[in-house]
């Protein structure tokens, strides 16, 4: 019996990187989160309202008990409507109700480091993400749109927790806070600074 067990372990060991750590969960996980984002800095000059229209989703591959790498995307929309006002232009004035929107779609590579063993009740982690983001700036004067679409570099440090639904469960509750930064410049925006809170689920699939 003992030799059989050793044999199984040996086979698993031969399967490569997955056996480099005590396997509580399969290494590949997917997460989907609802996101709320608060603009900071010059972004508040454009729209200072908290965005409740957002989500984030990603894949994470666990290299060992602590370290994982992955990809993440998502969507966040900032929206603000301003009452009619007169804006000064180069040669005159324009009276308009302004509707300001910014739609952000990041595509980021991520690295996360877990601060507890995979069998812990609560698994805190820290992360860093970097990549590019599609920024769709659309400022409406009345019904007339002034629209710009760019890709820009984006970086994001993150802290969060994963809480398994039972010991060894492949399904975990996820909550995190991210700081999103991008050197994005557009009219009144001199850089993109946002604190984003995410709540969702992580599922280990393979």
């Amino acid at each position: 019996m003992k030799s059989l067990k050793n044999g199984i372990l040996l086979i698993i060991a031969c399967m490569g990187i997955q056996t480099a750590f005590a396997q509580v969960r399969s290494p590949l996980s997917v997460n989907v989160d609802y996101s709320i984002a608060q603009p900071l800095g010059s972004l508040k000059d454009y729209t200072d309202k908290t965005s409740f229209r957002g989500w984030s989703a990603g894949l994470q591959y666990h290299l060992n008990d602590r370290l994982s790498v992955g990809l993440r995307s998502g969507y966040q929309e900032f929206f603000q409507k301003l009452p009619r006002a007169v804006y000064h232009t180069d040669g005159g004035e324009i009276s308009a109700v302004q509707t300001r929107t910014l739609q952000v779609v990041p595509l980021l590579a991520t690295a996360q480091y877990q601060l507890a063993k995979p069998d812990a009740v609560v698994i805190p982690y820290v992360g860093l993400a970097a990549g590019a983001a599609s920024m769709e700036y659309n400022k409406f004067y009345g019904e007339f749109s002034d629209k710009y679409n760019n890709w820009q570099f984006m970086a994001s440090p993150e802290i969060g927790i994963n809480i398994p639904f039972g010991k060894g469960s492949p399904l975990l509750f996820n909550a995190s806070v991210q700081y999103m930064y991008s050197p994005y410049k557009m009219q009144e925006i001199t850089s993109y600074n946002v604190v984003q809170a995410n709540v969702g689920l992580r599922l280990h699939i393979n």
Partner: protein, 203 residues
């Protein structure tokens, strides 16, 4: 990358439509432009066209005097008078001419700008203001570039023609939903004069 862009497009489709809950009033914009270096206090008298030019990209151009047009003429005249300018007949050598134009760009999506429509039959030829053979000079362009109806109010300098051209010194463009609705004339004319504080005979 194209797959990623496709993803971005589908993700964006869950966005809020900014125009969905917009009222006609909110949809309208009132754009004013002035020529550089013009001293508006140097003009004292004005005359206004006796009808409104209607230019359309369907090719039908005319002058009209509907109830809307009468109200527009009356409101702009009253606003100019309130700023100190004296209304005189066009034969009394006014300092300023006021041209009024309704633009119907709904027929197709080609754009219009004053440099173009001032050569169109419906628009007031400088001949009307006593300057046969002259053209108009527009210091900047105010384009109507989508399918829409708009209204243009132009102030033309009749005192200082340059190189056989009458110079436009001020333009107000009313754009958005309901600009051809008579109920909105008062508020629209009030708005363009209110935002052009320099348009006065006194400093």
């Amino acid at each position: 990358m194209s797959a990623m862009l496709g993803l971005a497009v589908s993700i964006s489709s869950c966005s809020k439509d900014p125009l969905k809950d917009m009222t006609d009033e909110e949809s309208r914009i009132y754009v004013t432009n002035r020529a550089n270096g013009v001293d508006f206090t140097s003009y004292k008298t004005f005359s206004i066209a006796d009808s409104v030019a209607v230019i359309s990209n369907s090719g039908k151009n005319e002058r009209a005097l509907t109830d809307y047009d009468k109200k527009l003429i009356a409101d702009v005249s009253a606003a100019m008078t309130a700023r100190g300018y004296t209304l005189v007949g066009k034969s009394a050598k006014p300092d300023l001419a006021v041209n009024l134009t309704r633009i119907d760009n709904t027929y197709s999506a080609i754009y219009y700008d004053p440099g173009y429509w001032s050569g169109i039959g419906g628009y007031y030829d400088p001949f009307y203001w006593g300057y046969p053979g002259y053209g108009y000079f527009w210091p900047s362009y105010y384009q109507v570039y989508q399918r829409e109806r708009a209204v243009s109010i132009d102030l033309i300098d009749l005192k200082n023609p340059k190189n056989n051209e009458l110079v436009a010194i001020w333009n107000a463009m009313l754009r958005g939903s309901g600009v051809w609705d008579i109920a909105n004339v008062d508020s629209m004319v009030t708005a363009v004069f209110a935002q052009s504080t320099y348009l006065t005979t006194s400093k």
